[in-house]
């Protein structure tokens, strides 16, 4: 068969590299109205906003009551004056009003620690110690009884400090437990493997509410007479166990994604099992599961609101307690909006921070 004659080609004129054509605005228009479905969705959103927003502004701003006492509030507008009056009670619960500087200091302490820990260059053993000292200081500040601070029983703690303390404590106790559970699931010893799997499966199969009830109702029955565990501690144990089970499953996913070559390289360098786990496997496994890890952390923050069933006044229950004041009309919407805003601020910050970490790791080519 005759082949076509080959047409020789030699580059004669270089095509110079140039910047891409501008496309910023075009992309916006394309996203919103690029095709029929996008255009329809955009239109629905705009119409809904036009319908809802004016009413919302009318309620919240135009008719909103910002100052004054209980009698100033009326049906038509938002009763922000209530929040102005009750915000301390929502934020700090039944904590003695004269000592409110203590929970304020605790909140600032956690905020400061969180901000300090965010840049990865601050990750060190010293930072870990700072957290340990910070949490201990927070507990002392809240509980008192030493350094001339008036003793305040946990039953009187409340509001945001409870939410923060339960979150930080249950996560920091739950994480090491989760690491052991996840590693234990890979153990060559059947007894350890079965124990870890059993624990995780049992905890995952129970609703958190059940566990909180068990912790608060059953544990006094099982302990000898006269010995009682603090309500706060009971709730903390239940939350820790719950968080540990979920974190363990998240970590297991990360561990399974580590290629065998990493273990082999560590072995060939004579690293032992524990050092391989601590220095090679876990850091990579954690980096791989940042999105589901964030998910579990955010869920843990919000799970703390369930401790109201064991009689602890976290942020949400402190809000409900504030609403019970008979002098004021009970502005549920405003109160829950306020509380929702605080939860949102915490959870959204965590979520944005995790995105930052993911991008940073990707940009360094670590993944």
């Amino acid at each position: 068969m005759a082949l076509l004659p080959i047409e020789a080609f030699v580059l004669s004129k270089e095509a110079p590299a140039r910047p891409p054509p501008p496309r910023g605005q075009i992309r916006w228009r394309k996203t919103l109205f690029g095709d029929a479905i996008s255009a329809a969705v955009t239109a629905v959103i705009i119409v809904t906003a036009l319908f809802v927003l004016p009413k919302l502004v009318q309620w919240a701003v135009v008719s909103g009551v910002w100052t004054g006492g209980p009698s100033a509030c009326h049906d038509g507008g938002a009763c922000w004056a209530f929040l102005r009056e009750k915000a301390p009670q929502i934020l700090f619960g039944l904590y003695p009003p004269n000592d409110r500087w203590r929970p304020i200091l605790v909140i600032l302490l956690f905020l400061g620690l969180a901000l300090w820990t965010m840049p990865p260059r601050h990750w060190s053993v010293a930072t870990l110690w700072a957290w340990a000292v910070g949490v201990a200081a927070a507990l002392v500040l809240m509980g008192g009884g030493v350094f001339g601070l008036k003793a305040v029983p946990t039953a009187s703690w409340g509001g945001l400090p409870i939410t923060l303390l339960l979150t930080v404590l249950s996560l920091s106790a739950g994480f090491p437990l989760a690491v052991l559970l996840a590693l234990g699931r890979q153990s060559r010893l059947p007894a350890i493997r079965v124990l870890c799997i059993g624990f995780v499966e049992l905890v995952r199969a129970l609703p958190l509410l059940t566990m909180l009830f068990i912790a608060s109702l059953l544990s006094p029955l099982m302990l000898p007479n006269g010995l009682s565990i603090d309500n706060f501690l009971r709730a903390l144990v239940a939350l820790t166990i719950y968080a540990a089970a979920y974190l363990a499953e998240v970590l297991r996913g990360g561990l399974q994604a580590i290629p065998r070559g990493q273990y082999e390289a560590a072995c060939a360098l004579a690293l032992n099992k524990w050092k391989t786990a601590r220095l090679i496997v876990l850091p990579q496994a954690i980096a791989k599961v940042i999105p589901p890890l964030t998910n579990t952390i955010v869920v843990t923050v919000k799970n703390t609101s369930l401790v109201l069933v064991v009689g602890l006044f976290d942020l949400l229950s402190a809000g409900r307690a504030a609403l019970a004041d008979p002098v004021w009309p009970a502005p549920y919407t405003e109160t829950f909006l306020f509380i929702a805003l605080i939860y949102f601020a915490i959870c959204f910050s965590i979520s944005r921070y995790s995105l930052f970490l993911e991008r940073r790791m990707a940009s360094e080519g670590r993944q």
């Binding site: 290629p259 990493q262 060939a268 360098l269």
Partner: protein
Amino acid sequence: MNKCESPAAIDLFGIHKWYGDFHALRDVDLTVRRGERIVICGPSGSGKSTLIRCINALEQHDEGRIAVNGTTLTTDPKSVEKVRRQTGMVFQSFNLFPHLTILENCLLAPMQVKKVGRAEAEELARSYLEKVRIADQARKYPGQLSGGQQQRVAIARALCMTPNIMLFDEPTSALDAEMVREVLDIMVSLAEGGMTMLCVTHEMGFARQVADRVVFMDAGQIVEANSPTEFFGAPQHERTQKFLRQLLH
């Protein structure tokens, strides 16, 4: 053997290994002298990787005796650690630690296993990174380097443990053609420096250039072992002849 004589670098005697029912190594004997450079070749599945992975106990042999610098490998973790401290290994897929910088990759084992101080470990790491001509990338992460660069780092990382035996498991097989040379150059200079080397590779040019002995394996056995001149010039066994014919065409 005389007791005063220093033991062979590697002594393999009657090694057998099974994967399930598959007989991967069949009665392998091999003695590697100090400073000897051996290239192991053979078709895929012939057991050459398994053999060198048995030497640092990444795989456990089922029968036979393996001694490295006089230490017999047993199930005792101490013997395993002792052997691994004296042998460096380079893998086909580099296996650098992606979450650590190049420098940290090289510091980890000396500091954690040999308890070398930071300053000393860093000096050592820099000298080896210099040797593999990659010192300027020390602060980068493995993912930011090309395959050839990563493999050179992997060689430096192994050398940082100051092993006296280096095992190479197809070190250039995962590399693009233009990067093979840069890795082989490092291996040649290592060989010229007197390192005991055991290389599983398909690079016959490298075998001709530096090997003291070429070992040909097939179906779990050593079929032929000879000096490169004899091995390539006058192969004796018909399977060796067939393998070399296929390699050349």
